[in-house]
Symmetry: C2
Subunit: 433 residues, 2 copies
């Protein structure tokens, strides 16, 4: 849930691409949101439309009637169904101008790759009449930025901005960062600064966090907004303050922080912008702790999330995924008797896995996960969703935690991995060497 003002200026995102409505995941929205947030701006709306010229033209027209700026991504390629340029021209009653310099750059690009430019790419050298060309260093399609004065055929009394960007994020992001956002910031929010406070909570359901923070959230208003986001096993509380100076915004957030800690402080696992994996890395590196992991049901997901962070090799020595019991014995020295008596999904096996990987690698911390992710393999006494997490060290202590999760295989694996990372963070924080 979210409280506060609607975003001002209103900046909309329009994603063009039939494939985005046929099963392809669109990660543009969160990634562009975060780039905007970095400048104190926010998205007011997003829409995804098929590659259909008339439909796109209607949407561009109405978005520019509603909002200050519209960012369109995709549909600038060379093929017949890339129609964003034409749709924008239709929407605004403008022509498209051929720019020989762009064609020269596209041809040169192909030449560098040892290829001849196909005839279709000529289309990419057409630009909306009056638009600025945004250089694309990563691909053939340049971006375009068009400034619309107040009025201009619409009822709007504001200066409006239309931005066309290529679809691939690796081409879009650098253009947006370097050539678009500074202009939007200067044009629409020249004198404001946004600061953000982030608290990450574990061990509390979203509705309970919501209730405990409701008095605080009720103070939302101009200049202060809140978001509570829940993920499997985690609730994130974000506060955004807009002010004339960074100092003023931080002072507001300081008061918010004190009230939030009074309400939910004992559930706060960490503060700041770092994701859980990076926070774990920071905590372990700061305390010069090293880690190795032994995974069964999470099957490498824990190691993969830890090594997503650059610099993971500073604390993470490695891990094993022991799906087969033979590997649990061979690589981790889990005792055959333990497997026979208690099975691979047991408190006892989990303890031996954590201690085994720690001893084998000489790390300060050994982490283990064993459980039943499903859909098959559950029994009455050991149902799908039963997971054990073991932490061996620092020092001589080993603790084993039992989880009883529900959901599908992917959810159980993700939830178990998140909980293991949280327990690691708690261990590192609780017992510095």
């Amino acid at each position: 849930m979210t409280a506060g003002l609607l975003p001002r200026p209103a900046i909309e995102l329009l994603c063009a691409g039939s494939e985005l409505l046929k099963g392809q995941l669109n990660t543009h929205v969160p990634r562009i949101s975060l780039l905007l947030a970095g400048r104190g701006l926010a998205l007011s709306r997003e829409a995804t439309l098929p590659d259909d010229r008339a439909g796109l033209a209607r949407e561009i027209r109405s978005a520019l009637d509603r909002s200050d700026a519209l960012i369109v991504s995709g549909g600038l390629g060379p093929t017949f169904d890339d129609v964003t340029r034409e749709a924008a021209a239709d929407a605004l009653g403008l022509g498209l101008r051929f720019r020989p310099a762009i064609l020269g750059r596209i041809k040169a690009r192909f030449k560098r790759l040892g290829l001849r430019m196909p005839a279709e790419n000529r289309r990419q050298a057409f630009v909306l009449s009056g638009a600025e060309v945004l250089v694309n260093k990563g691909g053939t399609a340049p971006g375009q930025l068009l400034t619309l004065p107040p009025g201009n055929g619409s009822g709007s009394r504001r200066i409006r901005t239309l931005v066309l960007l290529p679809g691939p994020f690796r081409e879009l992001a650098p253009i947006l960062e370097a050539q678009v956002l500074p202009r939007l910031k200067k044009r629409y929010a020249p004198r404001s600064v946004t600061e953000r406070l982030s608290l990450h909570l574990a061990g509390i359901p979203e509705s309970a966090a919501d209730e405990k923070l409701s008095n605080l959230v009720a103070t939302a208003g101009p200049g202060l907004s809140f978001t509570i986001l829940s993920y499997p096993g985690q609730v994130d509380f974000h506060a955004y303050a807009i002010a004339k100076t960074s100092r003023q915004a931080r002072a507001v957030l300081g008061r918010v922080r004190r009230k939030a800690l009074a309400a939910v402080g004992r559930h706060v696992l960490w503060e700041g912008e770092a994701p859980l994996e990076a926070e774990v890395g920071r905590a372990l590196t700061a305390r010069r702790l090293t880690l190795a992991a032994a995974e069964s049901c999470t099957g490498g997901m824990l190691a993969s999330r830890l090594t997503d962070i650059p610099g993971a090799s500073a604390f993470f020595l490695g891990g094993v995924t022991t799906y087969a019991d033979a590997l649990k014995k061979d690589l981790l020295r889990v005792r055959p008797k333990t497997l026979r008596r208690h099975g691979a999904v047991s408190r006892e096996c989990c303890r031996e896995m954590a201690e085994g990987i720690r001893r084998r690698t000489g790390c300060s911390l050994g982490l283990s996960v064993t459980g039943i992710a499903g859909p098959a393999g559950g029994t009455r006494s050991k149902p799908v969703g039963l997971v054990y997490i073991g932490v061996a060290g620092p020092g001589s202590k080993t603790t084993v935690h039992e989880l009883r999760l529900s959901g599908d295989r992917g959810f159980i694996r993700t939830r178990a991995t998140t909980r293991a990372l949280q327990l690691l963070l708690e261990s590192a924080a609780r017992r510095p060497r």
Copy 2:
């Protein structure tokens, strides 16, 4: 790129939730697309709006003017910013009716969990006048389905359907599957069947696939549409045929398949709906091959993707992530001399890792990945993006492949993992035992 008709019937999705515009990833669109595709239906458009009553009401109104059906997700919760019910009532000039039976179910749900129902939840018992209640077994907010006859205050001459669903996908999906999609299918596409053909290509850039398939794609028209989707290291070609019977649709796709194989056949790695991981699992299981993996730069991602599939234990025995060189020596018996002379990122080390994990586990196939994912760690002779993939077995042969990738850490890791899975599939297909 995509060719074919715009979706008919037109079914739109509206996601309500300010958090979706502040950095939270929305996975509803692809997942709902696939559920619709299973019934021969498709999304014609998607929009994400903040939790703002007036904005949502305007969007609901215009969506129902444009389309046959509108599915709204989110904003049915109990808190003050859940305003979808009110927005829909505003949009259509309808009242909200209190339904005591719903309140009874909500209270009973809380009671089962040993809790008292907070007063706020009473709001969830209000339903649009004339709407049917869609029972939600997974949460407190019921869904709603409203049928709008032709006209009804708009210029539309069709029967239109408004569906309100709770935001969490685990609540939304069962309601959509069991209570909504059969109705939409019956109402808007009662006599049509959709069949799908999927070819998965590797070793060919999207633009080249596009060019080779352009003659075929030009045959798109009523009843036949195409999509070419590219992922890091993979291009997927999908054809959808709509006909009166499944047999007719399959006959059309049979002709499409022959032409597609003539154009790009040598790049086709597999056919069908299974994702790469599942296809690898199928191929290995069918040939009774077993597998273990030794990972360095992919850090567990390969094992994690393989164990995402239910039943992975039938062929995957386990793996090791050897970030530290000491573990490469200890767990994989990589020779100290190899590491000294050639380094951990080398053809030689990769070979020893693949053979080491195979020998250690007794698997028929040993797979290894070592490389430099960046951002740090690159040198002139071994730049960021240099990756080796080794496949040991079946039989006595070991092959090592060199990749030179560009992009950020996440992209390089993902691309290397995908390529490793593809090489595994080729090995399994090429040399059955």
